[in-house]
């Protein structure tokens, strides 16, 4: 049922096009925002995403990436997704390399500073197979914020005068009616669906995020649908004991999936740090050959395993324990 309504809700508009306010409110009005349990499986959650949708991805770089859900979207054979994220790393490689996405809006796209350029991104973008639209980091944030505020744009003072702005005609230079200063208006970004991984939430979707929030709160408010993956589902009583820790309210959320280690091999603040041995193996393989190396990685680690848990077992218990020990050490004095 969700899939049918997801299809109906698909906008499929040119990126940078601002959705009409009436449409945006209408889509929200049609969502079931009641206090209800919404726990589903990873497979069911992936079925809420249709080919061609715009997908906002939470976290940043190698942190709190909703990796299990991205992994499941690839396994489910999704196509032509148009993704956005504040900073993209190996998640973008997998989305482009598998054909799940052909377009990404972000401010930075490589595997990580330690490894230089992503050959997968280069291969897909330089060949024209996929599109990478570049915005400044703050512009991405203001686009989600405008989306979350229900306004069509926000003004910023960066990007002016740069090649980055010249490449984005959807951002408009504008003379301020109060001061006469030149400003850049960046268009609201309201993804069809947002994928966000958190440390804990309840069955209703009240989500608590430890540490860095990145743009996830704005993203959740902006999106027309939100799927949460969570390290663990806790009781609503536990949420209510510390409501100041709740960063995303339940009525923004459409589905909840409990996926321990759901950001692996990336990090989840306070739970585990990045699994660098696996990432180094990955980077060497796909940068060695961005086509065959990526195909082999997808066959071995995405299509091969029967479940997310089996994928984790392929990363290996030794590396997961070490990453967890480092992850928890952030709370030491």
């Amino acid at each position: 049922m969700m899939q049918t309504s997801a299809n109906k809700e698909r906008m499929n508009v040119e990126p940078g096009t601002v959705q009409s306010y009436e449409e945006l409110r209408g889509r929200l009005a049609r969502r079931d925002r009641s206090l209800r349990e919404k726990v589903v499986t990873l497979e069911q959650a992936a079925s809420f995403v249709s080919d061609g949708m715009s997908v906002g991805i939470g976290g940043s770089t190698m942190s709190r990436t909703p990796m299990a859900l991205i992994w499941q979207l690839i396994r489910a054979g999704k196509k032509d997704l148009s993704c956005s994220r504040c900073i993209v790393s190996t998640d973008g490689d997998l989305l482009f390399g598998s054909g799940a996405a052909n377009h990404i809006e972000t401010s930075w796209f490589a595997q990580g500073i330690l490894w230089g350029l992503s050959k997968v991104m280069r291969h897909n973008v330089e060949s024209g197979a996929c599109r990478y639209d570049e915005w400044s980091h703050m512009a991405m944030g203001m686009r989600y914020r405008a989306g979350g505020m229900g306004v069509p744009f926000l003004p910023i003072r960066s990007m002016l005068g740069s090649g980055v702005a010249k490449q984005r005609p959807e951002a408009k230079e504008f003379d301020c009616p109060f001061t006469g200063e030149k400003l850049l208006l960046v268009p609201a970004l309201n993804p069809d669906v947002a994928l966000i991984h958190v440390q804990r939430c309840d069955a209703y979707g009240n989500a608590q995020i430890d540490g860095l929030q990145f743009m996830d709160i704005d993203l959740a408010m902006a999106a027309n649908r939100v799927i949460l993956t969570t390290e663990r589902i806790v009781s609503n009583d536990q949420i209510r004991r510390a409501p100041d820790q709740t960063k995303i309210p339940f009525f923004c959320v459409d589905a909840v999936v409990e996926v321990p280690y759901g950001s692996a091999p990336h990090e989840c603040f306070g739970v585990y740090e990045p699994m660098m041995q696996h990432l180094e193996m990955y980077v060497a393989q796909v940068n060695g050959d961005p086509i065959a190396g990526m195909k082999k990685y997808l066959d071995d680690y995405v299509y091969g395993p029967k479940s997310w848990t089996e994928f984790l077992s392929m990363i290996g218990v030794g590396e997961i324990v070490a990453a967890s020990r480092r992850g928890r050490s952030i709370f030491d004095d």
Partner: protein
């Protein structure tokens, strides 16, 4: 015969960059050398330096031997005063709270414009580079220190693409494009320290690193250099600076 230097190129860049920071400043640091140099300054002459990271961190004290692989990792939050959203920490630049922006560079030109987006024609690039990240915001909204390797192909007359603006085409063109005050303040390389002319906004050599000649420097630069009237020679990194640096980065992640 000249004695071989007792430090790597990355080490002298980091040490000289750290020297540019003053105690009490609020500095917005990118990953790599900037993060390391700001952390080094904290341990040497700037115990009250406040370091911001784009991941949403105010006042980090990164732990020795636990350098983060990006400025969005949990290690960046160690002993921070506050964590907040990425957009909100970037907005501190726009509001004017930040004294110094500090980042690395792939390609820079005579007017301090940085390119980290494309090599070759942007419409049909030879190489698609990672892009701006917060670089454009930092360069647009505060005074910048850039720390980078000095190579002829990196120091060019005109960048292929302006990812992070310096003084655009010199003179008043930065202000005319609508950008606030600020812009490039210093460029630090393993060969020299540069500032920018107050009027023409051209890069100019402020000081040569130990053992570097003007000819040397010009040979490694893709445009005709302007030298300050009083070019000095920089003091080499001290033992204390190098020892402290090597304790911070024992795995030589950023100083190899």
């Amino acid at each position: 015969m000249i004695e071989a230097p007792k430090y790597t190129a990355s080490e002298i860049i980091t040490v000289l960059s750290a020297r540019q920071l003053k105690d009490g400043q609020i500095v917005f640091a990118g990953i790599g050398t900037p993060l390391l140099a700001a952390t080094l300054a904290q341990r040497l002459h700037c115990p009250g330096l406040t370091i911001l990271f784009e991941g949403g961190v105010i006042g980090a004290f990164v732990e020795p031997g636990k350098l983060p692989p990006s400025t969005n990792d949990q290690r960046c939050t160690k002993r921070a005063n506050m964590v907040l959203g990425s957009a909100d920490v970037l907005l501190l630049l726009q509001r004017g709270y930040v004294d110094v922006g500090f980042m690395g560079g792939a390609q820079i030109d005579r007017y301090g414009n940085l390119n980290s987006s494309y090599i070759g024609d942007p419409a049909k690039p030879k190489t698609r580079l990672p892009g701006t990240g917060g670089g454009n915001d930092i360069a647009s909204l505060t005074n910048m220190i850039v720390a980078m390797k000095h190579e002829k192909r990196r120091f060019v007359e005109k960048v292929d693409f302006i990812t992070s603006p310096g003084f655009i085409r010199g003179n008043n063109t930065r202000a005319e494009s609508g950008l606030p005050e600020g812009g490039m303040f210093r460029v630090i390389t393993e060969l020299a320290v540069f500032s920018f002319d107050d009027n023409s906004r051209e890069m100019k050599v402020l000081a040569l690193n130990p053992g570097v000649t003007k000819e040397n420097l010009q040979d490694n630069t893709g445009f005709d250099l302007v030298f300050d009237k009083n070019v000095t020679v920089t003091e080499p990194p001290s033992n204390q600076e190098l020892t402290t640096l090597r304790v911070l980065d024992p795995d030589r992640l950023f100083i190899a």
